[in-house]
């Protein structure tokens, strides 16, 4: 019990002192996961909208596939990207393995299906309401999809957020493709895992507190944004 409270105190002092190493880790985590989320949104949202609005062979299969891929195990994605990026792999010549770029790629792959599946749900609901009006106005399906993406921007922030939550909290892919190299590819989750196993609880606890606070804060902001948007735009 004493050990835990002592560790918590040390953790608090680390956070308060703006410890350079601690904040370096936090900054890298944010950089990797935010980049991955942006990429996943740019790729996943149009896919989701097209799955909702489009008419093409294999659409249902793709919907099931994307829904299923929401639950991809991070370690499996990590392994796949590792194989692609490793020296002997098809993308080995770029020398990306064990770099933040590799971690961004891996998290993008992990998160894009989540964003796509959630987007499809949002856009499919809107499509039911808007379909006849948009067709009456002469909107093509791609145009309708684009309109619905814009119109659903506030609801879609939830999809982006779910993706970011997944990315920032996962440890499997970044551990495998990043290698958890001190000062280079060490992020919050991998540090927590490592320091805990080494018995260095203060740093792990400090990062744990920051990680949880970040996720809560971002969710709170998104909640407020959606409330504001509903009042403002209906």
């Amino acid at each position: 019990m004493n050990e835990i409270s002592a560790s918590l105190q040390l953790a608090a002092s680390l956070i308060a002192a703006a410890d350079a190493k601690l904040y370096g880790i936090v900054a890298l985590s944010l950089r990797v996961s935010l980049s991955a989320t942006v990429i996943a949104c740019v790729v996943g949202m149009p896919i989701g909208a097209w799955l909702a609005v489009g008419r093409f062979a294999g659409r249902r299969v793709l919907i099931v596939l994307f829904n299923g891929m929401m639950g991809l195990p991070p370690v499996a994605v990590g392994l796949l990207i590792y194989l692609l990026l490793s020296r002997a792999g098809p993308l080995g010549t770029f020398g990306l393995l064990f770099t933040p770029t590799a971690m961004i790629i891996a998290q993008s792959v992990l998160v894009a299906p989540i964003v796509a599946a959630l987007t499809r749900q949002v856009i499919a609901d809107a499509w039911l309401e808007y379909r006849e009006q948009l067709r009456s106005l002469g909107a093509s399906r791609p145009r309708a999809a684009a309109t619905l993406l814009w119109d659903g921007r506030f609801s879609l922030s939830t999809a982006a957020l779910a993706g970011f939550g997944r990315a920032i909290a996962e440890v499997g892919t970044v551990m495998i493709v990043g290698g958890n190299i001190d000062g280079v590819t060490r992020v919050m989750t991998t540090t927590i895992a490592l320091e805990t196993s080494k018995g260095d609880l203060p740093l792990a606890l400090a990062l744990g507190v920051i990680l949880i606070s970040l996720v809560l804060a971002i969710n709170a902001v998104a909640y407020l944004l959606r409330g504001w948007a509903a009042r403002r735009w209906g």
Binding site: E129, Y130, E132, Q133, L134, R135, S136, L137, G138, A139, R143, T147, D151, R153, F154, A229, R231, R232, W233, G234
Partner: protein, 228 residues
């Protein structure tokens, strides 16, 4: 008067259900109201004509292609301002920048909502939203306007306003094709009545003649029912 629209043997069958059956019509009147009880197939017929639904049989023939617009029972507003909702329709219609703004402003003026242009459309009242939908249609300068029970969920004041705007469309030369189950509305707006029930056209007649004495027994019963 030559017809602007010819329907021939129009059918819509979904599974076991025939929703529209063998509708053959020629439309020529300025304001035609499709009258009938709920579930008669009025809205479906309108959608078949506008091209939102594909008939399972028969044809819709426009002797000359006409610019069309449709206003629905529940207005569909995008999450943007009133003005941009009107602009959106014009963009899709390929109207040039500049011309779009001019037409949208004039259309909002026409429906009496010029002062609400900057407001978010979806937080307006139902009646105001329906008038935005009418402005969006007005801006497109349609030659035929379809209206599917446009006042079904509106209060009396909004209802009057919407009927006034429909009258302005007609006065500007737009053909009106509208569904309603409201007899008073049909009386106020129609030049011609098409009475349908159970997916079939039972009567097509000039409004004055129809309301004086419908030839069809079910249409007569519908009118009596409404008057009680």
């Amino acid at each position: 008067m030559s017809s602007y629209l010819q329907l021939s043997g129009l059918d819509l069958v979904e599974g076991e259900n025939a929703i529209v059956r063998d509708v053959t019509l020629e439309l020529a009147a300025r304001r035609t109201l499709i009258l009938g009880p709920n579930g008669a197939g009025k809205s479906t017929l309108l959608r078949l004509i506008h091209g939102l639904l594909r008939p399972t049989g028969g044809t819709v023939r426009w002797p000359q292609p006409l610019r069309q617009a449709m206003v629905f029972q529940r207005p569909v507003m995008l999450r943007t301002t009133v003005f941009k909702n009107v602009i959106y329709g014009l963009k899709l219609a390929g109207v040039k920048d500049g011309e779009r703004e001019r037409r949208a402003a004039a259309a909002l003026e026409r429906v009496g909502l010029a002062h609400l242009g900057a407001r978010p459309a979806r937080v307006l009242s139902g009646g105001e939203q329906q008038r935005v939908a009418l402005a969006r249609a007005w801006a497109l300068e349609p030659q035929v306007l379809f209206l599917d029970e446009p006042t079904a969920s509106l209060d009396p004041a909004s209802n009057r306003e919407v009927e006034r705007i429909i009258g302005e469309f007609a006065a500007a030369g737009t053909r009106i094709l509208m569904t309603t189950h409201n007899l008073g509305q049909a009386r106020r707006l129609a030049d011609e009545i098409i009475y349908i029930d159970d997916g079939r056209v039972l009567e097509q007649a000039p409004a004055a003649a129809f309301f004086q004495q419908p030839r069809n027994a079910r249409a007569a019963a519908f009118i009596r029912e409404e008057l009680l």
